[in-house]
């Protein structure tokens, strides 16, 4: 008989020191390096001042770094155990913002915690991944082949997506759908099912269009034709393209981005920070930045592939997709490839709750790495 346990469970109960040793410090370093680019950009956005953004961003990152490590060190089986619970909390908070949320930027998205504003939809981006990973952790290919098996997962996705849409926050709801789609894809849901869903969504677009807010319709319209409305919604995209394009190959130099510094660029410290980076650092700088980001994604992939349990693989892949979506949507938006949707650039954009959830996400990624060889039963609990 082959000893099935052999070599499978050397780390089920690692000491803290062992865990710290297992943390991928090179990933932590890479994260910090990317964040430092963000600090520099915020310093530049404030015309060469640490106030009002850079200092606070550094402090937040420091807090986030600690949080990330804490999350990473917690046993992954605990995260597995509490996946549904955390998902439930995030879902509950989404309902809370819907009922009594703070009105900001024309949409109900935040809960004011006093020291920071909490965006439950950001939290949902992480917890939905965890909950789906938990759901599919023990599922076999036969399971995922059955539609009845998929229905509870679909409910888990559609319910928060609807709430986020109600806020209304088109960008985040699309991100939630895409991450979920990626997980469905990875667990082996057949392609024709995707085709079916995508087809029916396309068919539903006229209906969705009918129920969309005017500002959302405007955004789509403006995206399709920005030059039609140069001082309205198209203004932002036009100005962003001007700033970006005028950066050229080598950029205008740090602190020299005239478009950004003269306020032609809207929201240069948050959603349009990549534009400023590309204006000041040029294409070369932007490529270096994109390469660092791509490296982050590669880390995510490697961690997922090296993980020996389905939960870890799915969490790592989900979070990597999440990170990718953040980056892609943000950068594609500022370059005028997709409509203006308020999605920040993780680690770079100034902001509270997105930075926090991004760090939690990285924490979970590291956690998967630390616990890559933890032995977990299909149900996830037996060996704990």
């Amino acid at each position: 008989m082959i000893n099935l346990d052999m070599g499978l469970d050397p780390q089920s109960n690692m000491s803290l020191g062992e865990k710290l040793g297992q943390i991928s410090w090179s990933l932590v370093l890479l994260i910090t390096a990317v964040a430092c680019i963000g600090f520099a950009m915020l310093y530049s956005a404030a015309n060469g001042n640490f106030d009002p953004w850079a200092t606070r961003q550094i402090m937040r990152f420091a807090v986030g770094l600690v949080l990330m490590l804490v999350v990473a060190l917690i046993d992954i089986r605990l995260w597995l155990k509490f996946s549904y619970f955390l998902y439930g909390i995030a879902f509950f908070l989404l309902i809370v913002v819907e009922v009594m949320g703070h009105v900001g930027m024309g949409a109900q998205r935040w809960i004011d915690l006093g020291f920071m504003q909490l965006q439950p939809s950001e939290l949902m981006k992480v917890t939905l991944v965890m909950a789906l990973a938990r759901y599919f952790h023990g599922a076999s290919l036969e399971d995922t082949g059955r539609i009845t098996f998929l229905i509870p997962a679909l409910v888990m996705i559609v319910a928060p997506v609807c709430l986020v849409l109600l806020q209304p926050n088109l960008g985040t709801s699309l991100m939630l759908l895409m991450v979920s789609g990626a997980i469905f894809w990875l667990v082996g849901v057949r392609l024709w099912k995707f085709a079916l869903v995508i087809g029916s969504v396309l068919a539903a677009i006229p209906v969705i269009w009918h129920f969309m807010h005017d500002y959302q319709k405007n955004r789509v319209n403006t995206f399709l034709n920005p030059e039609n409305d140069p001082l309205g919604h198209g203004y932002h995209i036009m100005q962003s393209k001007i700033a970006l394009g005028s950066g050229g190959m080598f950029g205008k130099g740090f602190l020299m981005g005239s478009q950004s510094h003269l306020n032609f660029l809207p929201e240069k410290q948050t959603d349009f920070i990549f534009t400023m980076l590309a204006e000041e650092m040029g294409m070369v700088g932007a490529l270096v930045f994109l390469a660092m980001y791509a490296l982050l994604l590669v880390y995510g992939y490697v961690i997922a592939m090296r993980c020996r349990h389905q939960y870890g693989r799915l969490v790592a892949m989900g979070l990597t997709v999440n990170l990718f979506l953040y980056m892609f949507i943000n950068i594609a938006m500022v370059m005028g490839l997709i409509p203006v949707v308020g999605v920040p650039l993780p680690l770079i954009s100034y902001g509270g709750s997105s930075a926090l959830t991004v760090m939690i996400g990285f924490g979970l990624l590291l956690c998967v790495h630390v616990h890559r060889d933890v032995r977990m039963s299909r149900r996830g609990m037996s060996d704990f």
Binding site: A243, G245, Q259, L262, L287, L290, A294, Y301
Partner: protein
Amino acid sequence: MFNAIDRDAERQRVMNRRTLVLGGLKAGALSALVARLYYLQVLEGDHYTTLAEDNRISLRLLAPSRGIIVDRSGVPLAVNEQNFRAVLVSERTDDVDETLDKVVKLLPLTDADRRRILRDVDRLRSFAPVTLRENLTWDQVSAIEVNLPDLPGVSIEVGQVRSYPFGEQAAHILGYVGVVSEQELQNARDPLLSLPGFRIGKSGIERKHDLALRGTAGTSQLEVNAVGRVVRELARNDGQPGHQVTLTIDAKLQYYAQQRLAEHESAAAVVLDVQTGGILALASHPSFDPNQFAMGIPQDLYDSLIKNEASPLTNKVVAGHYAPGSTFKPMTALAGLEAGVDPTHRVFCPGHYDFGGHTFHCYKKGGHGSVDMHDAIRMSCDVYFYDLARRIGVDRIADMARRFGLGDRTDLDLPGEKTGIIPDTKWKRRTYKENWYDGETLSVAIGQGYVTATPIQLAVMCARLASGGKAVKPHLTKAVEQEYTEQTNWPDIGVKPEFIQRVLAGMAGVTSAGGTAYAARITQPGFEMGGKSGTAQVKRITMAERNAGLLKAERPWKDRDNALFIAFAPVQAPRYACAIIVEHGVGGSSVAAPIARDLLLEIQLMEAARAQQADAGATAPAGDGAAAATPSASTQVTAAPAMPGEGTPR
């Protein structure tokens, strides 16, 4: 157990495969971003760089200061004065209304002003200054300055406004400036014109030399942010201030001429330099104050100027055309001489001339008796010229008159210049489609009938005579900046000098004993003038009136004869020529000639004083010469006593 492992392995194989697909998708998406980056930053980089510069740099025009206009010796005729205006920057005050309430205590602001200010505050960006009031007096400026701490957002700005120190006295020469009209804006390419409040020359010299006076716009390259707030000035080019324009006018003579005309209801006078054609004085009365135009003239004042029947806005020297009357006789005489008429041939004047069943009258009822050409000019005998004209025909007279500049514009570029009419047989056929009647020739001979001329044309005619037949052209501009444009060697007009000398001698006789203008002669030796009087009918005198002996002074003002005089001085080697018209002044020799006398004496005395100064300056140490007093000619004029029994010469 194996089964479970197999199933797990299969699940993982599927996942690995699909992970690869997902990674491929991501790599594709990333490539799309890189491609877009390359497109925007490298392929379209130049395009966006241009757009970015446009975004960033705002080019502001700086108005250059307008060139000044000076007289021939540098006396300023048109200058720029500081113009103070109070402005409000709304972002610097918490409560615009409250600030305005305080301002009202210092500056009178009407409700309409207030409404305009509040509208501007709403309309303009909060850092843009809104004009509260322009053209502040010094007292108002001081009041505002003292109270500035109480007036948040208010400040005083200095601009320039055109000012004419001589006011009415040179209005018709200088013209005035005004705001750019919509049409001018469309036609012009100079960006200066679009500056708010920019003023350009609208008439006179201000208009003729507008381009030189205007200067070139300065620019200030300002770095601005998205809302247009100035961050800093990147570069500044102050532009070129306008050129100084030097006129041929003598400010003192001009002033004197205008004063002298003011004794009459409506009159015009022009004095020329015979050699250069430079205009020393050009006066038209009544006049207007160009300063009011520069400031923006009130409507009621403008209406009163327009309605005034003496038309103050019209420059009568160029825009008034009059029958020259007897001042035209030198042309008839010259035409006769050129046609071979013997000047010693005598004609008997019985006081009238019968021709073609009509009776043509001489102004002198009893007639002049037997006169030759010299006498005829001296005494202005009409009958002699009727006879002469009948013999030579109208075309010769017209040809002569045209060579002396009549019937053609002088190109002075003063507004409303008229051509005047020198009729001949062709002209009549062209204009009326009728043949010329010989009787009409007789009217032309004495400067009546169809003949009209402007005072400037008469002055030019006189100057061409006085220069001995040079085609002198009048002009007002002596120099633009340092470029002198004066011309002295004019071409010959092709009349034999001896003929001209004969006519000039006749004209000298006009102011000699027995001449029509003997009473208005210059008595200072060496300064004597020659001339020719003219009293031109405005309205035909009917037979009934002539028989009733209606006195000229009893007719309504508008129907009275125009008084004209042309003159040159000194008689030997003439240097100055002038033409005077007093509208409805009745007597050419009694009303117009004294003005000519005074102006010609004034300019000669001034010139003499200048020559004396120059001499003194050359011999005495520098500085003494400048201190020498200029004798005022006007006080030295000794009006010659009227000779009894002269009658009323025309």
